[in-house]
Amino acid sequence: MTAAPVYTTIIGLEVHVQLQTRTKLFCGCSTRFGAPPNTQVCPTCLGLPGSLPVMNRHAFELALRAALALDCRIAPFTKWDRKNYFYPDLPKGYQISQYDLPFSSDGQLEVVDPKGAFSRRVGIIRVHLEEDAGKSMHDEAAGTADTRIDLNRAGTPLCEIVTQPDLRSPQEARAWLNELKLLLVYLGVSDCNMQEGSLRVDANVNLHIPQPDGRVAKTPIVEIKNMNSFRSVERALAYEAVRQWEEWQATKVEMGKMPKQTRGWDDPAGITRPQRQKEESSDYRYFPEPDLVPVTVSDAQVAAIRAAMGDPPTVLRKGLEARWKISAYDADVLVNQGRDLVAYFEELATLVGEGKVASNWMQQDVLRTLNERGGTIGEFPVRPTAVADIIGRIAKGDFDTSRGREIFAEVLTSGRAVEEVVASLGIAAVSDDDLVALCRELLAANPKIVADVKGGKEQAAAGLIGQARKKNPNVNPGKFRQMCIDLIKGM
């Protein structure tokens, strides 16, 4: 029998996020995704001789917004640097980035598992702004290997977010990334679409293994690249932790005894593979970009951006919990769906005058159908006023919840008003006289149930509800059940 692995997984992330600007970071070209190759280019992003960059103010403001939401310190003075390297999708031979004076640093973002499994405050080392490179498309056919270059993406603004190695499990890493994405989408900073490459993640991971002598052994840090979804990130980290544990048991090689390794995640195979190492570590020869002037950020500017930012998800969750007396779990579900859904919920809750019922309808009806149909909450045909109308009629006792659901479904498919649907389905409150008549009829036909109730088994009356609803779908089950019991007792 082997001992269970005893180690801590240490994870840090490097996230690149494309900012949601209309134009590129240093020229006026469009950043739209999916245009034919090399159609969104100009002398500047092509790196033609004599071309010069001019900073996109809006991109800088979006980046400031992200950094503020990540609780970063904003540098009053920041500059641009050139990162020099040769590659065909980098037409200038250097990337304009930020080296020693990033515009922000020292932030944090907390992720709390709504079920209480973990709560982790992750430190942000720095957030900086840089331009994206173009895309190289390698022809796989060996021998005739051709590479084609699309520079549409070259110059797109990217925010690089580097965390402290504060995450302790692949699950935490995935949850944290979800939280980061939610935050950035909330702020309108990025659409964070991983398929279109607007969010990219690299992860650094190693293990801390306590030794019998009290020392903690650290395995060599591995950087994992090539992960195309948050699920891949989780899987790759889980795989890598096990791989490092096994390697440690076999070799006992510790951090510092070998250079940092880069491994690529092979999603179909479910493994990481070593990527080709360069003989010497790359020297990017960073130096200040002389074509751009340093950027100064005033307190007033920071205050203005902060004021216009709106509440981040963490604040919204707490707010919903407090305002509408809903659980942390419910608040989490609602907030994770985005700002528009939260607005929908708050409108509904206000109309209904109660949070818990509104939250239940959101989760069981609105969200479920929204997920089935696809589309955004803004396009969802049943508006909060209609849902509130249905909930109100249920409360009045016009019909029960399951009847209410049918009405909701009909409003959704027909697009008609609740009032109309209620009328067309012939739904009308059953009068007390009709209800008494129905009770008597069914009690006469079911002497066993009458006997059971008389013998003290009141729950037996529920057996009549199905029959009653067959005869009149508008019967309110609770009211019907109580009336039956009352009648039997009076017999």
Binding site: P43, P49, G50, L52, V54, P290, V293
Partner: protein, 503 residues
Amino acid sequence: MQLLELSAIDMVAALRQGDITAVQCATAFLDRIEATNGSINAFLAVDRAGALERAADIDARRRAGKPVGALAGLPVALKDVLCTADMPTTCASRMLAGFRPPYDADVVARLRAADAVFVGKTNMDEFAMGGSNENSAFGPVRNPWDLARAPGGSSGGSAACVAADMAPVAIGSDTGGSIRQPAGLCGITGLKPTYGRVSRRGLIAFASSLDQIGPMARGAADCALIMETIAGHDPGDATSLDVAVPRYTDLLDKPLAGVRIGRVPEHYAEGLDPEVAKGVEEAFAVLKAAGATIHEVRLPHAKYGIPTYYLIAPCEASSNLARYDGAHYGHRSSVGHRGSGKAGSAFESPLVEMYCRSRAEGFGPEVKRRVMLGTYALSAGYYDAYYAKALRVRRLIRQDYLDAFQSVDLIGGPVSATPAFKLGEKTDDPLAMYLVDLYTVGTNLAGVGGISFPCGFTKSGLPIGFQLQAPALGEPLLLQAADRFQRLTDWHRRRPRPTEARS
């Protein structure tokens, strides 16, 4: 010959008054270029058809009473470092042979809008790196005053074409003296404006923090005229100054009474040619006679100018020239890449071999030298000792200028330690060649303006240049002082008698 010798100001006036037509004007200079360029090699491209078409269009508009620009019909030569949508732009490099930019540089667009007529693109040191014009991939320019001698550089073609009456005005660029030094060696006037005064957009970068475009003409008044068109804020250049452009020509005719001119002892260190020293002293005497007062000022860090410049400029150049890699435009090696990346190959991949061969074939030796120098100085482990230290010294030099301009309005002195040297004289000694920038690099490092103009001739008939430097945006005073000097002297009116090499 009368037309060829007109100043730009008089030519624009004659064109406006209808005394001459733009076509006559263009034809005269194009004919002159055709006759002379063979021996001087000042032009890399001449656009006869384009120039005549443009001139005819200007004449037609003028005849029809339609509006024409401020320089309507004035022939202008452009240094081949400026992007032109209708002419090749090569930087005198094999790397960009035949390259046609898809756009005009900001200065070119401004001159075009003012209806200047571009006669062609002038020769230069490759990528503006050099002080003799011998680094051109398309042959050296010869000094019109002595065809065996260099015109200086890197704007040697622009200086020589004005000196030889092939154009009344040329546009140059100055990174460490590339307008002022060739102007001095060719006996013409050249202005290096304050950094940011003229947009660099479309100027092919050598060293971005030092590069500046400026006019070269016979006299300071002509430089003033051109500055009114080319200076001004460009939102497309983040380093361009958003400051109103004065009417430089209106500010010329003012006496120099009360103007304080500094004389720098550091300028008279060993190596200064005695004839040049004498010419410079005589120039001070002229300025003094015109009402200026002469004061001694110190530039204590001037002696560090050359090493500082030769770190900062190559560092920036090594990055600026990285884009010439054969991948997207410009020269790509036609040598096959088979075998690269395999054992025994000097190249780690076919891509790296393509880069290496394209750059090895496309760049000349001086460009390679500076790219290697800059790459080395920016490398990990060397950055602090070289580039970072150079930046600190640059701040000291800038402070020297600020301090000096507390007590004087202008700083005067030689523009070059010697008159024009012989072709080939310094080509085997890069360090000796770097010293030709001794008196000019400080202006660029400090980001201020400087003007160079002729102040005499050596016994052998070579021009001697005088330089004035001013605080940032001091162009009006630079032009005023140089113009005043030129109203009192006729050195700038003298013409070479070319075509024969002197011994």
